[in-house]
Symmetry: C2
Subunit: 363 residues, 2 copies
């Protein structure tokens, strides 16, 4: 039930499926900390309820919550969302949660990465560090404990052997200073069941995660990557996107395919309004959120589930263009847009607050 | 998933199965409160680990624990015990936990009774009050919210329509002062899918629960009740047992059978030693546990699971006699005895700290 395996997923025949493969369900964590979410987290909770409700139309959703918030979350969420107590330090299940892997027999296991709060954005993070193990425990999946500090938002996979990530994050000395690029690549191969790692450079401009891939680019199917794009040479995102484009253009994936790149528009630039700032947080470790700072917001942070694409609505000037692109990329899926500015204000977006559990049985 | 039904289990075709029917597993709650468990609850935790480990040889066990104790419980328990965070006020899953009911199609649902800490032994009890709902949520079982203060330890069923309980507990004004005996009987029928209630008088002497049936007597199969017996007329338990015997002797069960009574020996009397007392608890609501007080201990508080009987070992003068009686009653089951004095010191025994989930599927 709580078996901890000392072998390696790849050696055991396990791989991380692509997000578009069938899910058993989606995991989320209820937001509550008032030093990260304005107005006592009430507007963020509304946004999380909207996300959970949208997903629950298509697949089971489990919302993890502290003891103190359990009854509030239970009352706020639709009946078909499962609410389970599991304390956390914040609400980014993509990053603190388990990465699930599967094998050809349909068995599901959990990978429990080490977690240090995005290179030390806050402390303590002991409850977030336990979230992945608690998810495995609740589901009864055996678990691999990976010797690597990694958040799920820093990797994307195509399910066929390719990992997409950024140097800014995975090679950042705030994560795994004692590991070389080669050692990190080896861990990605071993724990994700992958054979090739494609490195982009920096992540989205003004992203506080040290450049998570999931705010910049993602696979939409094998051989096709959606990339946040910015035509304005005066915007620092321009050079980042051009660099990513150039790195992708010359590469092949694990199966030898060339990579087609689909450009996603960049919203904004968006800035934090004065009433969205949290500058007077009393806690020493609070991440200060200043008025007028640029927000790390991108359409690449959408989420794929069973039969749907759930995308953030961020800017009326670009929302429809982004939606049309995603609808074209996923003609077989229902594309749902939700306004997610309240989630952006806390440091992420829809993909950051969700974590898929692939279909299959614990084993 | 978290569906709350406003219908009645009996009307929906659901009943509480007898404890000897097949289980999907067993639920327990990790002990931790230092004002109820001596030495920071460490000896009690050892005893709970022994109980969970014994049961886990036969069926899945889920241990619920607070956030603060999760890692400690996880480390102390065998790998095949599932450890899930769920805060509580104390560790009596029989009483605060859900009562599960099933129907002929094998569907499983939860009954969530109201809970007031055994008539007000401590406050607050808000976390215990949520335990049943959290169990239902974790398992995805629909749930009935019963309008009755009731602990699982105050009822036994034969699975064929008969409920065994005590007047001392269920008619106690500290539970449901506004309800008549007839109204309480109706709720038992409605929520347990029963047709007949057999009332005994008082529970075990010096039992702090206001006389839970599960420390006095239980069904061992339809038509057969094991009853704690005391031959010594000077012991107050004598009159209680004689009264119970007389009430049972003249009755038939829901199916019209006469009731055979099997006498279980009374251990002790056992008394709390000075180093087992907790008299200096700082908390206002702590239940004081005085040296020299008589302990509420009985062999009737055994637990039946898939293929086993787990019985308390309480007194070398009576343990073997009790074991032989249980072995005779359950020839097809392995009878396991565990020393449970540390559990008795906190106010209960094996049956009080366990809650069966019958086999079947949430639905």
């Amino acid at each position: 039930m709580a078996e901890i395996l000392t072998s390696l997923p790849a050696a055991d025949g396990f791989r991380m499926p692509a997000e578009w493969e069938p899910h058993a369900g989606t995991w989320m964590i209820w937001p509550e900390r008032p030093d990260n979410w304005r107005q006592g987290a009430a507007p963020a909770q509304d946004a999380f309820v909207a996300v959970a409700s949208a997903i629950a139309r298509f697949e089971p959703v489990t919302m993890l919550t502290s003891a103190g918030q359990w009854a509030r979350a239970r009352a706020a969420l639709p009946a078909n969302v499962r609410v389970v107590e599991a304390s956390s330090d914040d609400s980014w299940c993509r990053d603190s949660g388990a990465t699930f892997v599967t094998d050809a027999a349909g068995r599901v296991r959990a990978v429990n990465w080490r977690f240090n709060a995005w290179g030390g954005l806050y402390a303590p993070c002991d409850q977030d560090e336990l979230i992945a193990a608690k998810m495995a425990e609740i589901e009864g999946t055996p678990r691999y404990d990976a010797p690597l500090v990694l958040e799920g938002g820093s990797i994307h996979v195509d399910g066929e052997g390719t990992v997409l990530t950024t140097e800014e994050c995975l090679l950042n000395p705030n994560r795994n200073p004692s590991l070389t690029r080669e050692e990190i690549e080896r861990h990605l191969r071993d724990y994700l069941g992958a054979s090739k790692v494609i490195w982009l450079g920096a992540g989205l401009v003004d992203d506080e995660t040290s450049g998570h891939i999931d705010n910049l680019a993602c696979f939409v199917r094998p051989g096709v990557v959606a990339l946040t794009w910015c035509d304005d040479p005066a915007d620092p995102q321009h050079a980042i996107s051009v660099d990513a484009y150039e790195r992708l253009s010359g590469r092949t994936d694990a199966c030898g395919r060339g990579i087609e790149i689909v450009k996603l528009p960049l919203p904004g630039p968006l800035y934090r309004a004065p009433d969205e700032a949290i500058e007077d947080a009393a806690a020493d470790n609070a991440y200060q959120r200043y008025a007028q700072e640029r927000l790390g917001a991108s359409y690449a942070n959408f989420y794929l589930g069973n039969g749907f694409v759930l995308m953030p609505l961020l800017d009326p000037r670009t929302d429809e263009k982004a939606r049309a692109i995603l609808a074209g990329l996923f003609p077989e899926r229902e594309v749902i847009g939700l306004p997610t500015r309240e989630i952006v204000l806390g440091g992420g977006n829809i993909h950051c607050i969700t974590q898929q559990q692939p279909a299959g049985k614990a084993g």
